[in-house]
Symmetry: C2
Subunit: 208 residues, 2 copies
């Protein structure tokens, strides 16, 4: 694309660095920004710079945070005996959005994947071990990807923690709510039959 304005060209160039944004979409965004008020656009760009420059990671759980301790770790109302182990901050946001979990988190920063060169040293596993040893953690809830790598990571962490007096659980696997049986993959369906629940358990889950 040929632009008659260097300013526009630069802005389009910057936008098209974002994931899933090509030149045409970038131009659409830029022209949209052009129609917005100056204050709004400055608010937009200010929010992005501020976010990148001021963001920290929580010293305890490695979640993103506005200060050294994230709001979740700092909250007195949280159940400090439960720690949910997740891969990324995206997972924290997803679980928080359910508004059903009241414990703490630990962000690993990925899962074990030897082929990609990701071993335990690349992940926040040592600090999880420290936390479990020194804090009042009673349960680790493993909420990792339902893949071979995810399962491997769960087993690795479970072995690391074997000498410590904690309970390790994983999130339930099964058919999605509203999902149709015929579209579920065989592995999920087989597992959900093998791990079937008594009906009263099912009713109480629906009610909660």
């Amino acid at each position: 694309m040929i632009f008659s304005s260097k300013l526009i060209e630069d802005a389009v160039q910057e936008f098209s660095k974002l994931p899933g944004i090509g030149k045409k979409t970038a131009l659409r965004m830029v022209l949209h920004l052009l129609k917005m008020e100056k204050e709004e656009v400055n608010g937009f760009s200010g929010a992005l710079s501020r976010m990148r420059n001021e963001i920290c990671f929580c010293n305890t759980c490695h979640n993103i945070s506005d200060s050294d301790q994230c709001t979740i770790c700092a909250s007195p109302g949280r159940n400090k005996s439960q720690v949910c182990v997740v891969e990324t901050i995206r997972d924290v946001i997803a679980i928080e959005s359910t508004q059903q979990y009241n414990g703490l988190y630990h962000v690993l920063g990925g899962i074990l994947s030897p082929l990609d060169g990701i071993g335990p040293e690349q992940l926040n596993v040592a600090s999880l071990h420290e936390r479990v040893k020194n804090e009042e953690v009673e349960e680790l809830i493993m909420a990792l990807s339902p893949t071979i790598e995810g399962d491997t990571t769960v087993y690795y962490i479970a072995r690391q923690m074997s000498e410590l007096p904690i309970r390790i659980t994983t999130i339930a696997r099964g058919i999605s709510f509203g999902g149709e049986l015929e579209y579920a993959d065989e592995m999920t369906l087989a597992r959900s039959i093998a791990k079937r629940l008594p009906i009263d358990n099912y009713v109480s889950m629906k009610g909660s």
Copy 2:
């Protein structure tokens, strides 16, 4: 979605103001920016602010520009006897990207659409008339939408210019290059048969 960081929340909020960007896509972009270097993100937000704060519109053709006169109007190599009339700056970018047109432009800012309250006063029609009267324009090339409104606008402008000694043309309508006949709409197909071209004309067009 619930974020543990106000900075992230603000950035997501701002991103989701853009067209076609929902909360989830906005979060994806924000997390991508978080992974980028600080300088890169500041470059990104700087380019946006600068673009919005410094952009002008060309006094002559109403195209976006970095100064009072756009690079196209200012260029000495351009054929000043041809003016291509388009709806938006997006059309200027599209035509410029073909690298086949060497004349000037005139951005109307829309097309006549009485139902939406857009009459000749809302468009840059008066300034087009001035340009044709005072400058060395010999041909107006109407490159407007192939719709009823577009055609109405073409006829309106042609009538406005009727006392002036210029030639008014419109861009060719027909089957798109690489398009398949069976998928073309009836109107286009009927018109492209009625306005068929002699074969030597066709060959010279392919060659150019």
